[in-house]
Each structure stands twice: as C-alpha cells, then as structure tokens.
Assembly symmetry: D2
Homo-oligomer: 337 residues x 4
Amino acid sequence: MTKLKLGVIGTGRIGKVHIATLVQSVPDAEVVAVADINIEGAKILAAQFGISFVTPDYKNVINHPEVDAVVICSPTDTHAKYIVEAAQAGKHIFCEKPVDLSLAVIRNAIDEVEKAGVKLMVGFNRRFDPNFKKVHDMVKAGKVGEPNILKITSRDPAPPPAEYVAVSGGMFLDMTIHDFDMARYIVGSEVTEVYVKAAVLVDPAIGEAGDVDTAIITLTFENGAIGVIDNSRKAVYGYDQRVEIFGSKGMVSADNNFPDNHRYFSSEGIQGSLPLNFFMDRYLDAYSTELKAFCDAVIHDKPVPVGGQDGLLSVAIGLAAKKSVAEGRPVKLNEIR
Amino acid sequence: MTKLKLGVIGTGRIGKVHIATLVQSVPDAEVVAVADINIEGAKILAAQFGISFVTPDYKNVINHPEVDAVVICSPTDTHAKYIVEAAQAGKHIFCEKPVDLSLAVIRNAIDEVEKAGVKLMVGFNRRFDPNFKKVHDMVKAGKVGEPNILKITSRDPAPPPAEYVAVSGGMFLDMTIHDFDMARYIVGSEVTEVYVKAAVLVDPAIGEAGDVDTAIITLTFENGAIGVIDNSRKAVYGYDQRVEIFGSKGMVSADNNFPDNHRYFSSEGIQGSLPLNFFMDRYLDAYSTELKAFCDAVIHDKPVPVGGQDGLLSVAIGLAAKKSVAEGRPVKLNEIR
Amino acid sequence: MTKLKLGVIGTGRIGKVHIATLVQSVPDAEVVAVADINIEGAKILAAQFGISFVTPDYKNVINHPEVDAVVICSPTDTHAKYIVEAAQAGKHIFCEKPVDLSLAVIRNAIDEVEKAGVKLMVGFNRRFDPNFKKVHDMVKAGKVGEPNILKITSRDPAPPPAEYVAVSGGMFLDMTIHDFDMARYIVGSEVTEVYVKAAVLVDPAIGEAGDVDTAIITLTFENGAIGVIDNSRKAVYGYDQRVEIFGSKGMVSADNNFPDNHRYFSSEGIQGSLPLNFFMDRYLDAYSTELKAFCDAVIHDKPVPVGGQDGLLSVAIGLAAKKSVAEGRPVKLNEIR
Amino acid sequence: MTKLKLGVIGTGRIGKVHIATLVQSVPDAEVVAVADINIEGAKILAAQFGISFVTPDYKNVINHPEVDAVVICSPTDTHAKYIVEAAQAGKHIFCEKPVDLSLAVIRNAIDEVEKAGVKLMVGFNRRFDPNFKKVHDMVKAGKVGEPNILKITSRDPAPPPAEYVAVSGGMFLDMTIHDFDMARYIVGSEVTEVYVKAAVLVDPAIGEAGDVDTAIITLTFENGAIGVIDNSRKAVYGYDQRVEIFGSKGMVSADNNFPDNHRYFSSEGIQGSLPLNFFMDRYLDAYSTELKAFCDAVIHDKPVPVGGQDGLLSVAIGLAAKKSVAEGRPVKLNEIR
C-alpha cells in the first residue's frame, strides 16, 4: 500500500498538532506540502518535520500534484472557500470545525464536495476519545436500552480573550459545538429543539463582547430522549469533560482523564491529581485516531466517520442555541433555515 | 432536661419510620400518643414501641394534654388542616412535605402558626443527609466561591402506580419537590425562573394519568447562578441521588451511598455494588438527624432548620414547573400567584 | 417469641457499646442485669438504659435467676474465669476477645462450656462488617476460585499508652488478633505458619515496654494460600481497615468506610473525606449484627457463628507471631503447644 | 545540538519497542545501526524505520564509527559481555535488565564501564511511569514523613512457558527484579534483609522446572522501614501493578492504569474496564521517558538516573530471595557474596 500524501493549510496551534501527529503517529500518511501566510513559522515547522514543500499560498498546496488530500487548519472564515477549491481540484479534505458559521455556505461546500466525488471529514476529534467512544459503543450495543437522559459537562480551564468571542461566533459555535456533535453521536438521534439558559459569570468583558460564558442547554431528540449540556468558560480545577447517558436498561458514564492516579492520604484529607488541564493532553490519542480514520477512509475508499452533514448540523444546533438565548424561549431546529 | 412529648398522626410508611426513629434514636423524645383511622395497624405499632395512647381520631392527639408537639404523617390533603388545628391548640408541629398543593392554603397555615407562636418544621429530610449537608456546608464556607452551576440528579428506582400520580400532584410535587428544596438549600439563593422539558419515557400509564416521568429542569437563581435537575421515575440500577455545585473557586460533588464498598475483579471486568436502593436505607441517618433537630429546636427554643416558608417555596417552584410543561416556556416564579 | 434476657459484666468502653446496642438495636434482647466493680458508673448506665438490677459483683449477674445469657466485657484476665462460672451456672455466653492469653486456660474454658452444653460466642465483630462479610461470601461462593494471596491492611489511628501494651499481651494479641481471625474467616482455611518482621517506628516507649508497633506478617494456610497482614499503631489519616483476596478466578477487595462521599475540586487538587476514624464508627453496624446473631443462635438453638475454637486459634496465631519476632524465623502453628 | 546516534543490538520484543520509541518519540535520538543474528527480522525492522545499517554481528554495531551509544536488547547471558566490549570501544550503554545473573560478572562489567569513563544505564523502565514517579517524588518531598511500610503488588496477566523460567533465573530475577528496584527507588534506602514465602499455585509445570509462581516477599530497609511485595504469575483480570507507601505523615498510593474510565450501571451492578493488560500498554510512556533520559544524560554529560549499581543491587536482592525460599529463613543481603 502506498502512503496517503497530504498537504496542510494553516500552521497555527491545531495545524502544528495535526502535522506532528501525521508524521509521528500515522504510518499511512506522508505530509508533502504545507502552507501558511506566516511563511517563517511554516518554514521552521517544515524543517522540523522534514517537509520539503513550504509555501505562503494555500493554492500551491491544493494544486500540488503530489497532494492527495488537504488538511484545512486555517481560520474558520476560510474553511468553506478552501473546501470548495480543494474539491474542485479533486482533492480529499479534512477540515477543522466549524466548517462555517453560515448554514448556506456550508451547504454549498457540501454540494461542491459531492459534485467532485471527493471525501470530506470534519474534525470532531472527541468522537475518537477512548472514553466517549466506549460510551457511544455501549449505547449502540443496546447496553442502556432506550436512551432517556443525556448529560454532558463541558468546561474549559480558562476563558478566551473577549476579542476572540466576537469573531468565533461565540461560545455555542466555538466551544459547545463539540458538545452538540457529541450529543448526536452518543444518543444516535437528531436534535429537534434547543433551550438555553445562559449567563455571564466568568468575565464581564465576554458579556460586553455580546457573548455568554456559562450555560445550561436543554436538548430534545427525535427519538424522544432529552438531554442537558452544562458549559463554563472557566473551571479552576482544569478541563472538565464528562458524559453520562441514562436509559431504560442502565446508565453509562465517562469521567475525566488524569495525569496520574496517585492518592495521598494525610491528616488533612485524601487528595488526588487534577484532570488533564489542556485539550491537547486530554485528546492526544483522539487526534491520532481521528487522522488515521481519515487516511484509512481515503486509502480504502470507505465512508468518513464524520462527514459534512455532521459539520452542518452541529452549527445548526449552535445557531438555535443563540436564538434561544436571544429570545428566551425553546427553539425548534426547523426554525433554523 | 425533660423529654419532648410527641403525638404522631398517621401510621403509614413514613409514620412508622418516624415513630421507630423517635423511640430508638432520639433520646430527647418520647412518643406518648398516636392516631390513625386504621386503628388496628396503629394499635400494633403502639404495642411494638410501648406507646400507651392510641386513637382513631387525630383530634385526640392534638388535644392530648401531655402532647407538646405533633408529627403529621397523614395524607397531604390533611396536612394544612391539622397544622392549623395543632397551632390553635398551642402545639409545635413537624409536618411531612408537601404542606399542601395550594399556595393559598399553605400561606394560611403559616399565618396560623405565626399567630399561635408555635414552631413549624417541614420534613425535607435530605437536608440532613451527611453528603448533601457537607456540600451545603462547603458552599456556605465559600469553598466554591460564587456558585455558577448547580446539578442535581434525582432518579427513583421504580415508578409509583399511575393512580398515585393523579392525587400526588404529579412528579414535580411528590418527587422533584425534594430537589427544589435541595437546590435552594445548596445554592443559598431563591429560584426566580423555571423551565422544564419533560417526557413520558418510563410508563405510558403515567402519561395517560396526565403526568410525566422524565424531566430536565432548568433553574435560575436570584444570585445569578443557574441550575439543572434531571429526574426519572425509574433507574434500573437503583435510587440515584447526586449533587454537584460548580463555582468560581471550585466544585463540590456528592455521590450516592452504597451498601458496601467491595470491588470484584474478574476476567469479565471490575464490578461493585449498586447504590442503596430504597430511600429509607439511603436516608436512614437523615431521618434521625432531622427529628433530633426538631426536638432540639423546640426544647431549646431555637429556630427550626426548615420552616413554613421552605415548605411554601418548594411547592411554588413545583407549580411553576407544571406551568412550564403545560405552556412549553420558561416561567418566572412571580407568575405563580 | 420471648426475648432473650441478658446480663452484662463490665461497663467500660465496650460494655457501654454492647448495652446501648442491645437496648436500641436488638429487638429480641432485654438487658436485665449489669455488674461492674465501679458501681457508680454502672448505676448511671443502668439508669440511662432502664436496667433495674445493678451490682458490683459479677457473680450476682451470673446467678441472677432471670438471666439467660451473660455478655462478658470485663478485663481479659477475667474472661476465662467468668466463662467457666457462667457455663457451670448453665448460662449462655458472649465473651469479648481475646478469651485469654494462655491456650491452656482457653482450652479449659471451652471444655467447661461443652460440658455444660451452653453456647459460647467470641466477639470478633469484624466478621459482621458488611464489607468484610461481602468479601467472605464472595470467596465462599467461588468468585475468586482457589484463594492464592490474602492481603489485610489494619492500622490504628493512634497508639495505645505504652503501659497498656504491657498488660494487653502486645500488638499481636490486642490488635492483630482481629486480623488473624479475619484471615481464617476470609480464606476459609487454617493458618499453619507465621513469619513476622516487626519494628518500633511509631513510639519508642512501646519498644521499651517490650512490644512493637509496626509489622508485616506472612501467613501460610493449610489449603496452600499465602497471606500478608500489615499493621501500624498509628495512621495519621485515620483508621485503615482494608482487605483483598486474590485467586485463580479473580480478586475481591474491600476499601475503608467514609463519613461522606463528597469530592472537592479546586485549583489545589481533588480532595475527599478521611476514613471513619474510630473503630466504633467503622463497626457500628457490625456490633448490632453480631449481637443479633448471638441472640438468634441462643433463642433458636443454632450454632454460634464465632465459637470457642475461633477464640483459641486467633490467640495461637498471635503467640506464634510473638515467637517469630523473638526468634527471627518462621514459626509453625504446631510449635505452639 | 546534534542528535545522539544509537546502535541497537537485539531486535526481539523489547528491541522493537525501543527502536520504535527512539524513532518516533525521542527527537534527540537517531538510530543508525541495528544488529541481530536473525538478520531477516532485523532487515524488515530497519526498512520500516529507515535504518540504513543492518548486520547479523553485534560487533559491527559496537564498532560502527557513527555509533555514540549502544542499546543492548539481546538475551540476558550476552548483556555483560556486550557491555564490556562497548565500554572498551568507548561507547555509552543502555542495557536491558537484568545485567546478568552473577554478581561477579556484573561487578566486572561495572568496573570496565568505569575504567572506560562511559555511561551505563539499566532499563528499569517503571521508574519512569508517571504514577510510580509521582509516588517517589512525594516520598522524596517528605509528604509521607518517615517511610514505615512499603507495599507493592505486581502480578502478570499470564505465566511464561515453563521452559522460560529455567533460563530466566526464575521469577525473582525475571519479574520481581522490577519490584526490587521499585522498592529501593520509592523507599530511598537499601534493602538489608529478605524473607520469601513462595508457592506454586498457578502452573505445576513451573514448579517442576524448579521455580515458583506466587510469592509474598518481606523486605527490611536500612532506614528502618519494612516492606512487602506480593507476586503472581497469573491475574485473570490483567496486569496488576500497584504501590503504596505509608509513613509517619501519611500514605501515597498509585493504582493501575485503565484503557478508559467508563462506568456502566445496570440492574446487575456497576462495572468498569479492566486494567491495561499488557506491560507495553501500561508502560508505553515510561519507555519513551526512559530513553529520553538516557539520551539527555549522554548528550549533556549528566549522571544516568539508573546506573550499574542499581542493576547490581536488584540482582543481589533477587539472589537473596532465592536463597530465602531454598532455606526457609530470612536472608541478610550481606550473605549474598
């Protein structure tokens, strides 16, 4: 089997993670080209990982004759444009989430992908986390019976700068979007209604930027199940990512991951380590499993595990969540376009 | 110090628990009279616990010259009436929850209690559970900083008969009412708004009786915190009672209680015991602590830890929850009368 | 069924526990007589629990015509003597451990009990702890297959005064004796050899009094299993009582008990409560289950769950342990008389 | 900084692990040569990891002009010989444990290493496990005060073939040797005496081959602490590697690692995943940390974290353990040569 040759667009935080992962942990992959307008940073990275072709222009990656597939790690507002161009060039595509903040734009990108007959996978890495995957698999195997109640706790260790939330689309589209995808993934049914109670309890500047930093989000699913996501932009004890699904035959839960499992017993009490504090530590394995799955789907012409529709629907739920906050009422998904 | 002499009205399930608890575990208490229209059952109980005065008529307990305080364990629709009569007779009162399903009726009972200058304590036993009390105490001591998110999971091991829900006032007033009180107790602030997403996923007969059996309830508090309660009438793995409070300085959680703490490691996996399955097992200690607190408040003329207003407010939140389900929208507490 | 009428000899710490337990938690029991040379303390206790007959002379309890059974809670050096006299008076006997420090004296007491045809139960209360009982029951049900390795951790929260160890027979006979009984109970086989590595690491005064305060004790069992007990007189984090049994089909373990199950997550780490710190808290339920079992055995003429041989063998293992420390070598049980 | 150029001798199970780790996870390392008498296997491995020089003769690796350091992964009986030759060739050495089964041979190898002024590190990978390292670091930081009791549980998921134990030196030298090193590492003091109670409970063929498969090993340390290791060749629930250290100020423990942290609650009980079943899964991170530490020590001329004396002492304890079993008595370390 020949290796899949990939070109990476964007060498910011997540671009670096993906390049390192592809080079070190995905034997079927070879990174042959990399693009970033910040050409100096890209050059350093390319040298470090032995990538020979470096360019400031993403077009040179898309059109590079050796490139079989592109990995899009550039800012959100470029995602859809690059997807369309890559599809038109006949390249397979792995794109970071969210695909775009506009459903129309996403739909157009999906159309172009389908027209070109290439594969598009969206980077919902948490589906490849061993804990969440285990919960999903057990639900799918019928271990909880009919799902009744889903609970997701998702809290970040520290809030982003207020400037960021203005361009990110806000908490529901930059952070909760992962939880919306996880909700669909675990329950195995589509969300039909969203109600959000949100607040600004972490940083007033976030409120002034027009966003919220704390929320309780009620979801209704097509199969009758109901669910709740609780979010905070700041958990002082670290990155808090838990899930629980309760049904007619039982419950499955997944706790956080920890750097070690020591326990210390002193006269003061019993103490243990805090959860892994950074999303790249928590989801390290998930990133490599995700990229392996993408390469595997392309090489063996199998369906990608997270497709364009998944990218579209998570954004749709995020838009419904924003509307619910704005109007103070439950919002049906079919109200969103 | 002389003992507090008590008369118990109602010898059903909870009446029996309270009598046994008072006799065996509350050294300051003496049960001197007991009433139940089912006089045969009452006589057996009285003989078992050495109580000399048994009557089918609750009035004989209220007016018994030796009785200092009455413990009302009769059906809900009699609670307010007996409170009023006991107050007028100058007796202190411990009353099971809910006080009544009508706010007006409860307000009237509270008025009479205040007029009479007697004490009224409402039986929210979970406040005396060592786990929930620990969480409350840590919040109060500032350990979590400003409360941001409250999470209560409260699931029963088995649903009540559908006939019961018709007279009980429904899930929010017979079951969730405990969680509403717990929410106020732990957050230390009043609920201002309720939104409920409810479903019938356990037993269609409950739906036919006009009630729900599964719910996710979003609460807004006066201090800015938000909270969520999830309820089910049927958890196949047993009685599930957990709480978690997240704030600016940390999080405190309390897990279920278990009959033992063994773990079994075999080639099949790791197994442990299910949570205590019955509310009387789970809250055994809470019942005696609760009654000790009542006796202590009366004997030493101290404020009761759970008063008439607590009884009133939990019902008000329950009524708001019902309205939210009926109208499919968030309901402000000040809409409720 | 008539109640079993008991007389209690000795109203020190454990005597008080047993009287309170019998009165409050054992419906089949009635304490009708109590003896202590410290007559003032005994009178206060008798008044508190409504016991009419109080005497400074144990003989008056043994010979009291209403007494069916005696509960011996006096100092160790009186146990055997009182057992013999009670047996000769035709009374059933519950005796605290150890029965005596001399095997010959214990054997003589057992002989007299057998001659008299009365029942003798020895107070190894830990057998009635729900955790240890669960482990025992699972071993007996074959869940671990053939037992291979037993591990008992048994550490006290604080050392006794050095004067105490001089008269108690030392750590192996006043503290580890419980673990020796637990080892036999869980493995379900007799100990054939003991090797002890001991040290004085907690309090030099204990060493000066001729005893040790820290030990690792290796046990060999008749069925081929091997085991280890680790002891310390002082665990700063509280009373530490754990067990683990490993076999051909799996492992069962039991952890400590805790006053509550809260967990606190702050920026400093995750914290929980320390184990229950006092043996009476940890084994509260065990004491009442134990006395119920005794009353049940007497009333229904069933074998007692912990008999004279159990009392004898735990002392024999303790004496072997002392010999092993003295001689620095493994000691066979059949070397002990 | 230039990379450290390494030659690997032996491409069996552990050789493969080390090569993959060096290539993928140690940025400072470059594997330039590899030797194995099984030249075909070595060639495949070399091709897979892009290593250009492959030879059947270990001498060609030791004498390769580019090789700065050799990694010895060949059978135990060649370790010392290769160490000596590599030292004489002026190459730094990483050698798998045990260095040899003879103390005299190990001493000679250490002498040659010292004479040559090269570095020798012994592969006690568990010291680099995040859990055990945390326990070690907390002890060193004084968190447990004076160490009193060390407990190590170390059980393999499946026994080796009986033929293996004949050449491996037996359980104490092929398996427990890791625990002996761990004991010294965690307590921070030398072992002065060993007593072993051993049995053949897993596989009679192991007994026929002259070895044991189950053991309880009591250790005495120079600083006064005592310790116990329990071993089994077969734990049906997987690889069981735990440690606990108890001292005057508290206790630190480390539990096993698990593939995920899900919990499943059904009417049958609560279940979770078994521990990681294979030593390469459990110690994956430890292998890369270990090799990074070696490369770092060589490149920056720092002391290696696990040296020749560590290799010598763990074998000495193993020989004392064998003698203790043979003679049925505690054996002082100074009896071993």
